[in-house]
Symmetry: C2
Subunit: 107 residues, 2 copies
């Protein structure tokens, strides 16, 4: 996976062209996935147990089930989590590389 560093940059001076369009958009999209308190908390839960059933999440937050599902979708589309179904349940887990890539981008 590409790293897209923010801190160690191409470098310097008023003449430097701004960060590649695609790189900015990519990074911003991933940060946007974490730009909501509920999604931060969901990622937190997923980090605590390496697999969490949606039913546990809907129980843990005072939000409707569709809202939780909506946030999970955003996290999934951002590539930060992945899911699999077993029976009628859906289980979500973090994508460690995606988190690591974000951390790398911050330095």
């Amino acid at each position: 996976m590409k790293t897209l560093p923010v801190l160690p940059t191409i470098c310097c001076g008023p003449e430097t062209p701004p960060l590649d369009e695609h790189a900015r958009t990519e990074l911003a999209a991933r940060f946007k996935a974490l730009a909501d308190p509920t999604r931060v908390a969901i990622v937190n839960r997923l980090a605590a147990a390496n697999e969490v059933c949606v039913c546990d999440l809907t129980g843990a937050f005072e939000l409707s089930q569709p809202t939780i599902s909506h946030h999970l979708r955003l996290l999934r589309e951002a590539g930060l989590v992945e899911s699999s179904r077993r029976g009628t349940n859906a289980y979500y887990r973090l994508v460690p590389d995606a988190i690591a890539a974000l951390r790398a981008a911050l330095g």
Copy 2:
């Protein structure tokens, strides 16, 4: 500065109370500051040179001067950057601790 870790969590199981309300909100607010391509690029520029004049930024992006000023304000309010004026110019620089705190929250 408090660290607000996301990955190394309070820990575990469906019984675990969700992340402290204040902690989620705080973290989400900071990630939101990076949830826009222009702001990612601005932070990138600031990381490349440890002080950048606003005039250089307005020149580097194809956006109006008020829009750049708006983004700088958001970054400033999030505590990610700080500014000082010398003469008629304003110079912005990163707040390294704030960036480090975000990185820490990701692991």
